[in-house]
Symmetry: D2
Subunit: 435 residues, 4 copies
Amino acid sequence: MNKRLKVAVIGGGSSYTPELIEGFILNHNELPVTEIWLVDIPEGRHKLQIVGFLAQRMVAKSGLPITVHLTLNRRDALEDANFVTTQMRVGLLQARIWDETIPLKYGVIGQETTGPGGMMKALRTIPALLDIARDMEALCPDAWMLNFTNPAGMVTEAINKHSRIKAIGLCNAPLGIYKWLMEMFDVPSDRIYAEFVGLNHLHWVTQVSVDGESRLEEMMNGDGYSAINVPQSSWNASLIRALGAIPSYYLKYFYLQKEMLQDQIETSAKEGTRAEVVKKLEDELFELYKDPNLSEKPGQLELRGGAYYSEAAVRLMKSLYNDTRDIQTLNVPNGGILDFLPKDACIEVNCIVTKQGPIPMAVTRVPQAVQGLIHAVKTYEQLTIEAAVSGKRELALLALAHHPLVPSANVAEPMLDEMLEINRAYLPKFYPEKE
Amino acid sequence: MNKRLKVAVIGGGSSYTPELIEGFILNHNELPVTEIWLVDIPEGRHKLQIVGFLAQRMVAKSGLPITVHLTLNRRDALEDANFVTTQMRVGLLQARIWDETIPLKYGVIGQETTGPGGMMKALRTIPALLDIARDMEALCPDAWMLNFTNPAGMVTEAINKHSRIKAIGLCNAPLGIYKWLMEMFDVPSDRIYAEFVGLNHLHWVTQVSVDGESRLEEMMNGDGYSAINVPQSSWNASLIRALGAIPSYYLKYFYLQKEMLQDQIETSAKEGTRAEVVKKLEDELFELYKDPNLSEKPGQLELRGGAYYSEAAVRLMKSLYNDTRDIQTLNVPNGGILDFLPKDACIEVNCIVTKQGPIPMAVTRVPQAVQGLIHAVKTYEQLTIEAAVSGKRELALLALAHHPLVPSANVAEPMLDEMLEINRAYLPKFYPEKE
Amino acid sequence: MNKRLKVAVIGGGSSYTPELIEGFILNHNELPVTEIWLVDIPEGRHKLQIVGFLAQRMVAKSGLPITVHLTLNRRDALEDANFVTTQMRVGLLQARIWDETIPLKYGVIGQETTGPGGMMKALRTIPALLDIARDMEALCPDAWMLNFTNPAGMVTEAINKHSRIKAIGLCNAPLGIYKWLMEMFDVPSDRIYAEFVGLNHLHWVTQVSVDGESRLEEMMNGDGYSAINVPQSSWNASLIRALGAIPSYYLKYFYLQKEMLQDQIETSAKEGTRAEVVKKLEDELFELYKDPNLSEKPGQLELRGGAYYSEAAVRLMKSLYNDTRDIQTLNVPNGGILDFLPKDACIEVNCIVTKQGPIPMAVTRVPQAVQGLIHAVKTYEQLTIEAAVSGKRELALLALAHHPLVPSANVAEPMLDEMLEINRAYLPKFYPEKE
Amino acid sequence: MNKRLKVAVIGGGSSYTPELIEGFILNHNELPVTEIWLVDIPEGRHKLQIVGFLAQRMVAKSGLPITVHLTLNRRDALEDANFVTTQMRVGLLQARIWDETIPLKYGVIGQETTGPGGMMKALRTIPALLDIARDMEALCPDAWMLNFTNPAGMVTEAINKHSRIKAIGLCNAPLGIYKWLMEMFDVPSDRIYAEFVGLNHLHWVTQVSVDGESRLEEMMNGDGYSAINVPQSSWNASLIRALGAIPSYYLKYFYLQKEMLQDQIETSAKEGTRAEVVKKLEDELFELYKDPNLSEKPGQLELRGGAYYSEAAVRLMKSLYNDTRDIQTLNVPNGGILDFLPKDACIEVNCIVTKQGPIPMAVTRVPQAVQGLIHAVKTYEQLTIEAAVSGKRELALLALAHHPLVPSANVAEPMLDEMLEINRAYLPKFYPEKE
């Protein structure tokens, strides 16, 4: 089986890359990748080399017939690719620091995937991803784009709406839930079934069964699930019981907005934002990566918070490649699954992954209580996407003024202006004269 | 035309009653009411008499063949009634004071028609109104219930869902908008057309035309509309322009939540809540009403904040009675008008009023930005209605925890418990052993 | 009031025109038309002159300040028009004869507004109307197109989907129903309310009230309503009672398909098709029109079958012009009124006519029994529209094979081919080399 | 693994039973059935014994720890059952003969699962199945009902709407399609994926892939698929190509109505109806079954037309039992999968089978051309179900008059009356005095 199977990794210089490489090595039997192209922007050349050389050492050690290419020329990487993964950060960690800290000054949660921070990240990222999609339309129109660039839901929806490229959004959170359930019930993943309903970073697990028997009731103890990369405020146990569903840990930003804001303000004062923590972790990782004797993924990578990203990506590629028709939780166009959202809205639900793409499964229950919140956040997402594509400040203002975490249009407006201005270099649609 | 035409006024001892009586007198030509039954609860006997005697003096002065009956026996009032109006306040102004002040202690807006205050009012009111609907099913099953008891949207939805009575919710706000437009454009009402989209106390005017020509654009100056019974925070002009629609003044609680909360806290400290202001006004009104020489509606009633309520009610009765097929803005079941809400959700939109009832008109535009907020508030309303009917605390908690004005489930829970406890006497569904 | 008010009448040489002129004369007070432009194609020059000179004599007699222009230059007629009415017949009565006779050879009903005949008429007409719409986009982009060219529902949907022109479809059938009800109940039209549900030539009257009191039950006697231009087969009384609604007389083609087909075959043998009858009537009318002493609409026009067309058109123009906000039954985009049809499907329902256009009213009841039939015919209509626009034979075949009156795809295919071939000269999209 | 696993087979005396028994024997490893209860009505005692003894011989030969019980007491069979299969024929083959012959007299297709015949079968069967469901609610409320009693779609919808029992409808047709595809592409079933859209006996295969590569285009040759139990009229090749989908062989009744009717009339004259053919086959089968030396399923059973029924049933039970989460084509409530049908309408689509039940998958494409036909037939089905439950003749008339195969209400009415009358003994809801 000498067939060419080419994967382009956009943002190849990311600290996550070694995990992805490990995934390709471990799954080579079922996903016989022949070429991996790590591509990054000129500013990332140094990191690309560090990570790329490590990737080459890892592959060499494996003895597999895979070649790892490093390039700053995106078109070379995309040409005839079968899969394109995207893990980029427009504006680098500096922009994330803005996303997380500026809102705090206005008494608003600073978070890189929702609220004002998530909006700014979307405004920076969507045009960049659409540029890649344009290139793909020309160079590899049938390739799958596996997008795990955050805010993954908005980015995936934008690509599906504004390009002809088939994009699937994926997130490590559902996989994390499965890992947690595996540990809790001490069974392998394939004996567990969890139903996810909602949007990226805004989902609820409305059904959990082990060997087909429902176990949700016994889980309604209010501890919920908290991943290591989200601050630890306990859940409100009465709320969880009343919901009869397990909220994503990101839902703490909504259900415990007050406490989370307080926590962010305190943590930020003490130890800096999550972005600053991550920056430090990344610097340490890159120091490790440089070691010419290192030829495997270092354990410290797991502290980085992106656990399972690579696992999710490789699993999805395997299923698309092999027409596996297994169930995965993905970000896909709604169709009619959630009947109160537009058909082209991107949602996060269980899908059957066929070679023709993921097919969403019906959701057996959407708790009445959560429909309004899902719709409110989706409204913000739609407005943000259109703002990103059009560069219209008024759409960005509408998005913010209607976001559940923003307490006033009078707060939204100056906050928006400050954030737009500081991000100016990354927002050519908003500042076209700067192009 | 000696046909009997009987109107039952539930909560007949209300300070609003003289306005209603005036309406019947002025419109007798087109709405030849023969009997008005003012009914109240025993605790309201004193007020009923004061108001009732004034009503009798007003009718006597008019010389019209109308009889005004005062009674504490609701069944007498309802028997064979053609129209039933409801303007009650379970728990009286004391309960309103709770609704408006307890949330403030938790840093949440205290308002009698939305948020925690609106929920408590709904929990007290819905069972009482359903009791009346049960009586109507037996005594006047074909009568129209004109409900202007707040929260009018929830109450009307509850009656339409949980009884066989035909209920229409009405509010003075749309009429107020028309009065404001009449003044602004200096034309009579019938040359103006305004399209309303949304829910009770959560609507947007998305179209304004005068003589059929659109005038909305020139109105997008950000001053918006503020009625005298809502505190005066200016609108955010950029928001209004971006919306391309005029938000209801109640939307300040959402769009300017932070400022409105601050304002409530300050005003409450200085001059008491709106409830306390109203209580004072009402006491003064009742002093006036006692004057045996008074035989017309006193001008001071307009300060009370309920301007146009009577006008709205009489106009609606006239159209139902005469099959007028004119356009009125009413609270009716959604059908498919707003496609993202359930068909049985109560919405506030323009309707054609026929003798068979109001028929909603399609809305020509629902601004994308507002759909999520409408859905979020409707979710809270649905949960509140089911909580009121079932007496389930967990539904009330879900309602609050998902309300856009409540910043945390951990805030919602103790606030809810305090409010339930203090309202105990009015919540037999929640405290059944007390029945 | 010297304001210019220009009406362009496309197909001005039609035998209907005198009725339209009479309408403008009678309603000049409320609709002060200043210019009427009668325009026709070169082949219609002779008829245009006969009708046009009559129109000029009628206007002269009226003494009103209206000018009547005759032209073969459509662009002159359209320039700055306020209203454009369309009453054209691509292929003239000859094509109608094909529509009505060829299907009979295949054992299929031959009818000019549905089934194979209706499809052929749509295929000929839609491109011609879209051409006019293109001219209007350039010459009078804000004008209203009042389309009463059949099949009016499909044509109107095509224009609304494929141009930027505001088109309203109208039909004389609803007005005919009102006339019939006026006679039956002996009351003027404004005391009657009838609710229409469905599509053009496929509607049901689901509610009839007089002075607001429902009278539908007493009408369920099975006689239904039959206009003079539709063959007289009696209705099935049990069906009508079971429906609880009055079907349009066109529904006989569906509910009594077998009898109607038999009737067509017999009538066609005896006296020719309806088209041939009409041709004879028209010839007689034009003989009358030529009389230079005639300066009013001759009574014989009513036999022609288009009674009330002009009344419907002038009434609609009056309401659009004066922002009357009265209720008219029109063909407009569905929005969400019928929730099982696409939002852009054209439906025939009651609307409020404002200067900004008609706003459909919610329907209070859609009998469950008729939903599938409405959807089946709408499917045929959608496919036909796309066939007309694209010239794709396979879409026309799909349309026919799924039409409820066509008993087999093996019947549909040769019938389609024969009809396409004979209509070749009028189907440039299907026969592009002929262009 | 000594756990009890009980299956009740309603209509156990059916000629299909040996196939089912064979299925249980072959799959015992994964579906360790311990008890099989064959139950039938007193009139079927003789057949039950013949079939039951064969079943016992088959099980004995297998040496597996399964007991086979024969009973006329349904409650014994149902008590604590895990699965209940239903394969009954109210009125026996005689009624089927009526279903297939009476319509022919009226020039209407006689078919036991759609049109007038299907309606009568539904009217006889639904109340009988609902009786069983009532027993199940009391005796085995958590059991799965696997319904393959025709008309399976209507029966399953009726049970899901009018009882609390979890019913799944299944049909051998999708499995037959898979067998045909396996042969055509010479690959095992698990390398094929076919997407089904529609209703029971009214589906289209809109996607076929082998190893994930689409093969639909090459199949658009017009031969379609014909099973041995449906008369052989060739498909119309142009239609198939235009559809871009493979219609179920039952769709010949709709797409080739004329030819199928002609064929039925001729066949009926020559060789009797399908019912009569089946009756003869069954008599022969029962002769074989009586042979005390026979202890396996005779090959002749495949001529009976129910091939794969047992395979479908056992496969479904295995997946429910083992939480297999594989894809099967089943009849389940619509949810929002087909957005133009009610949520509680039963549709036939691909589902993931979990222990909690089947979860429908989104359909990736619903050909526009078929939506109206699906809706038209579903309308007939809904009306038929309500007629069956209520015994209202007018609903049955509406169902027939709106069925695409019935050419006139005037045909429908006498045909209905004749069919009701002859079925009188099996229609207690319609003839309550006979109860």
